[in-house]
């Protein structure tokens, strides 16, 4: 009988300690997470900033790739439009069997 009571007490202690540890763990996690809002905000801000930079680069790229811009740049680099075009026609071999 005494042994049975001792065993039951041990089980109860174990359960209580486990519960206490779990409660403490939850408290610690909740405490940590509840103040993580600032990190989320910072990450969102960073993501927003990167998106803005990406958009700015895309805008700049599309402007630089425009044909009007390319034509102007070509002119600045000294390219001129060719007036004459020569067509190379394939030569038939002289000796044919």
């Amino acid at each position: 009988m005494k042994l049975k009571i001792k065993k039951t007490s041990k089980i109860i202690y174990l359960v209580v300690i486990t519960l206490a540890i779990l409660c403490l763990a939850e408290l610690l996690v909740t405490n940590r997470l509840s103040t993580m809002g600032w990190k989320v905000q910072a990450l969102e801000k960073e993501a927003d900033q990167l998106k803005k930079e990406n958009e700015a680069l895309t805008e700049e790229m599309s402007l630089q790739a425009s044909l009007a811009r390319i034509a102007l740049r070509a002119q600045e680099l000294g390219f001129v439009q060719s007036d004459s075009v020569s067509y190379l026609t394939p030569q038939i071999p002289v000796a044919l069997k």
Binding site: T30, L33, S34, M36, G37, W38, V40, Q41, K52, E55, A56, T58, E59, S62, L63, A65, S66, L67, A68, A71, V85, Y87, T89
Partner: protein, 563 residues
């Protein structure tokens, strides 16, 4: 004072306090409940709309013709503004394009409001400039604005994005208008619990409604062709002293529009600075009388019906024709007795064409006008397409049958004309012109299959008319400008412009329509110049311009001479 009196007085005091408390509670909990609820919600929740980015419009090579860029709404939080409205307006005005200073002052002077919008679509650079002024009470909210990297190129094709009655972005005209719903997308929303300092609570409640960015359109527009015809059209209008002009380049086998340009034009990013009359695309909406370019259509109809054939000789071509009170002459007042059909096209003989249309007859002529797509829209995917109506069948007179043979007394749009001639290039099959070939929705790409073409004349008829058109270029009016080694099928047109019930003698629409290489056409193109002052004739204005453009197109498409 008796004790009863004191007790009663205390009782009255407590009652008064109780009534006052009840009254205040009633005031705050009943009368002000809605306002407090909103304030509480505002303190507890962050609400944030995730705007949908408008879809892109791309050329056939994937380069961007229209996309969205960063912009801002400039607003003023009036309780925080600490300077006079006039001073603020004067300081921010230099950064804001096309803004009225009085309008800004009016907004800043408003009473009984906490927040006023000052200017939409402020650029990033302007935002930075205004932020550097450190003016209290001014803030920015992110929005987007439309960006057209190629400037005013393809303005009529693209249309523009304006605002509707609710202040929301909306596409008008061109592709922006036609595909507005696809391009718009759907905004999303995000709602989450926040703490006292405004930061999100990770373990709190949050809700997200996913939005959808607009779809991206990939068009058939060849950026190089478009750029070329825009430049050449501007140069041609200046050279020939024309008031306006249009060029359309189309793939005859599919109906894919490779290029479409009209002048005068506008810049879609600053459309509000231009006359509204410029917004409509003349290539698909402006009616004109096609003149002699129409002769190939009537000739094709007559040949297809076997009303005439290669052996037919015109026995009424020795001089002017009188029909009722009207006299039909040739444009040069030269006459070619016993002309065959090729001669009629080569000499652009009005009298010869009257002979042909009389052989075809009114009923068949009207049937073929409809077969070639005249009097109805082509179905192109542009918002502003229109079609001049054909005269009701019962209202056609003998003179109308005669004049339609040489393209007068009938109104068409440039797109209808190029499509009709395109059917001759395409072995008798009439296509439905289109511009968007692909729609991209995230990762999903949908190819748009163009509608099936209709066989409206036989391939043999198409081949016969092609030969006549080649002859017209080789030996006809446009022969001076032809390109050596390239077989071009084409026809000039010089149409008088109707003015108050009669035709103006000085003003014309000069045009040239054709396709090349004649036997295996890579493109069909129409050039029209309205009221050219250098010369009224299509052979001297539109034809050389057409040939100049085609020379560049041959090089670009890698078309060799002798093909």
């Amino acid at each position: 004072m008796s004790i009863n009196f004191k007790v009663n007085l205390l009782f009255v005091g407590f009652a008064l306090v109780g009534i006052t408390l009840a009254g205040r509670l009633f005031y705050w909990q009943i009368i002000n409940s809605d306002r407090l609820k909103v304030t509480a919600e505002g303190q507890r929740w962050s609400f944030f709309e995730i705007p949908a980015q408008r879809g892109e419009i791309k050329a056939s090579d994937g380069s961007s013709l229209a996309n969205s860029k960063e912009a801002y709404l400039l607003y003023a939080s009036l309780p925080q503004v600490d300077k006079a409205p006039a001073e603020i307006a004067a300081k921010i005005l230099p950064f804001l394009e096309n803004t009225d200073e009085e309008g800004l002052k009016t907004q800043l002077n408003r009473k009984n409001v906490l927040w006023v919008p000052l200017k939409h679509k402020v650029s990033r650079q302007a935002k930075e400039g205004i932020e550097n002024l450190n003016l209290k009470g001014l803030g920015f909210e992110k929005e987007e604005t439309r960006n057209y990297p190629e400037g005013s190129m393809s303005a009529h094709l693209l249309g523009f994005v304006g605002v509707d009655a609710n202040g929301q972005d909306k596409g008008y005209f061109g592709l922006e208008g036609y595909y507005d719903l696809e391009l718009k997308g759907k905004p999303g929303a995000k709602k989450w619990e926040k703490d006292a300092s405004g930061k999100p609570i990770l373990l709190g409640e949050n809700m997200t409604e996913e939005g959808k960015n607009g779809r991206t359109l990939v068009t058939t527009i060849d950026r190089t062709v478009q750029y070329l015809i825009e430049i050449k059209l501007k140069e041609g209008i200046e050279k020939y002293g024309a008031k306006s002009g249009t060029i359309i380049v189309m793939e005859p086998g599919t109906g894919a529009i490779l290029g479409m340009a009209s002048q005068p034009s506008y810049d879609p990013s600053t459309y509000y600075l231009f006359e509204k009359t410029l917004y409509r695309n003349p290539a698909v909406s402006l009616a004109y009388e096609p003149g002699s370019t129409f002769k190939v259509v009537v000739m094709a109809a007559a040949l297809n019906e076997k009303a005439v054939d290669e052996e037919t000789v015109c026995d009424k071509c020795s001089g002017p024709r009188t029909i009722g009170e009207y006299t039909i002459k040739t444009s040069t007042e030269k006459y070619y007795p016993n002309s065959n059909l090729t001669d009629i096209i080569k000499h652009s003989d009005n009298v010869g064409m009257v002979f042909v249309s009389e052989k075809l007859g009114l009923e068949k002529t009207l049937e073929y006008l409809k077969r070639f797509g005249f009097g109805q829209k082509t179905g192109i995917d542009l918002e502003d397409e229109d079609s001049p109506a054909l005269r009701a069948d019962k209202n056609w007179r003998t003179i109308d049958l005669a004049t339609v043979a040489f393209g007068q007394g009938i109104a068409v749009t440039p797109l209808q004309m190029v499509r009709a001639v395109g059917s001759i290039a395409n072995k008798g099959k009439l296509v439905e012109p289109f511009i968007v070939k692909k729609v991209i929705d995230g990762q999903k790409v949908s190819e748009i299959t163009p509608p099936k073409s209709k066989q409206i004349i036989s391939p043999a008829t198409a081949s016969q008319v092609t030969k006549m058109m080649v002859e017209a270029v080789e030996a006809g009016e446009a022969k001076l400008a032809k390109l050596k080694g390239f077989e071009i099928a084409g026809k000039t047109g010089t149409a008088q412009i109707p003015l108050e019930g009669h035709y103006d003698k000085e003003k014309t629409v000069a045009s040239f329509v054709g396709f090349a290489p004649a036997q295996n056409p890579r493109f069909v193109m129409l050039v029209t110049l309205r009221e050219p002052s250098a010369s009224i004739w299509g052979s001297s204005t539109a034809a050389p311009l057409w040939l100049e453009i085609s020379k560049e197109l041959f090089t670009y498409f890698g078309v060799l001479p002798g093909v």
